[in-house]
């Protein structure tokens, strides 16, 4: 059985159905990428896993336990942390406070604490007392990733972390991923940037219109197959 798994996951916003039976499996310590165009259902998938959208109990399984009906705070306590799309830093909090809020209400034991996050992203140490939202987009993204790591998650979900950032900044941020993997966390990366996704992932799922249209190891997927799964045309 996989570490984190969705089974025939469906999700709707009112009358609009966004996911149609999505099956995703993540093994412990693995990194998977979920790629797809705008509106493919990638973010909805993450919103379902994190409990922002509620599901049937058995539609999401973590470590063998059904967690489909759990609330976001319960999901975090299970060890699944999210880097939300658009970063969503708290404007009233400084950089350091944004990081500290990531482990609110619990003693998260493990590699990640303020010091190790500052080692991972040294620029944040200098800006620790600035308001989180006063930073550049790339630095804000580092805070958002650090904030999620502060809970010492067993699974890290990253939603569109390259969106709106310059290529050189994206490279810097992804340069931190090997160390995050070393900490033992499994990672789910949702990306529109296919090149970046293929580089970082052990396996890739391609989604289109709320369904998984292709999955496999990056080396096994041809450019045409990805193109076809991404856009629906060969």
């Amino acid at each position: 059985m996989a570490f984190l798994e969705t089974r025939a996951l469906t999700a709707s916003y009112g009358d609009f159905q966004a996911l149609f039976g999505v099956d995703i499996a993540l093994e412990a310590g693995e990194t998977i990428a979920i790629i797809g165009a705008n509106g493919a259902g990638k973010t909805t998938l993450l919103r379902s896993i994190t409990g922002i959208l509620r599901n049937g109990a058995d539609q999401v399984l973590f470590d063998g336990k059904p967690i489909g009906t759990a609330s976001p705070p319960e999901i975090v306590r299970h060890g699944i942390a999210m880097v939300p799309e658009g970063r969503r830093l708290f404007p009233s909090l400084t950089v350091e406070e944004n990081l500290l809020i990531g482990r609110y209400g619990r003693k998260a034991e493990g590699l990640w604490n303020l010091d190790t996050v500052y080692d991972l992203f040294p620029v944040l140490r200098q800006r620790r007392n600035s308001p989180g939202t006063a930073l550049s987009g790339g630095q804000q993204q580092m805070v958002a990733i650090g904030r999620a790591l502060m809970s010492n998650p067993r699974v890290l979900l990253c939603d569109e972390i390259s969106l709106g950032l310059a290529p050189v900044i994206i490279r810097d941020i992804y340069a931190a991923f090997p160390r995050i993997r070393q900490s033992g966390a499994a990672i789910v990366v949702v990306e529109q940037d296919i090149g970046q996704a293929l580089k970082v992932a052990d396996r890739v799922y391609c989604m289109m219109e709320g369904r998984v249209t292709l999955s496999g190891k990056p080396a096994d997927l041809s450019r045409d197959a990805i193109h076809n799964a991404y856009f629906g045309t060969a």
Partner: protein, 286 residues
Amino acid sequence: MIWIDTIIQGILLGGLYALFAAGLSLVFGIMRLVNLAHGDLIVLGAFLILVLVTALGLNPFLATLVAIPLMFALGWGLQLVILNRTLGDDILPPLLVTFGLSIVIQNGLLEGFSADSQRISAGALETASIPLGPVTVGVMPLLTFLSALAVIVALNQLFYRTSLGRAFRATSDDPVTAGLMGIEPNRIFAVATGIAFVVVTIAALYLGTRANFDPTIGPARLIYAFEAVIIGGLGSLWGTLAGGIIIGVAQTVGAAINPEWQILAGHVAFLVVLAVRPRGLFPKGL
């Protein structure tokens, strides 16, 4: 000399209004909930202290210490069971529900205590005074002002120095993302309202010991509280103290000119500030 005395009395009175307002400011700052029953809750707190004083023979300050955990629990439960259900994009439900709560509290108190004026006796402290430079100030007004300062310092410490305070600010910014951090917004809101009720209880002590009160005076206290919050700038606790002082000074100066002008002068000061600085003197997010 009479004017210095008048202004100092006004500043001390401002402490009382800041105490009325701090709880309102706290709840609005964290959950954008305008609690129309705030004044009635202060009166309810005063009746609770009165009951503890008369039934158990406690000193009013000791009775307040007993009332504080009871009021915290009441605020916590009220938020968790009722007020959390009213929060959302629509601002009307919390207004309607707290307006209803205001009516329920007033009528409940009328049933239980009749419309008679009440007073909590603070004994010799009521008339005690101490010289303060060129003027003499009453001990109770001075205690009121110092309590307001202490409450505002304590709330600021709570907000900016503790992990609970971080959770308050984060939840106020963005409850959905706060949930992704493991914060339960509904519980955070319940704790915030509980703390606001602690402040309400402290305000109730001074409301009840400084003047007569009866079940119907809550809404007028709500107006002073509103004015102090809005003068200060929404969400700023120090601004709330400044707002209270402006109303207090305006009232005592107005009364010194003509006793009939006391209440009016406070409202006029509010309107003037609103005309000049519509967002208040110190607008900021909490």
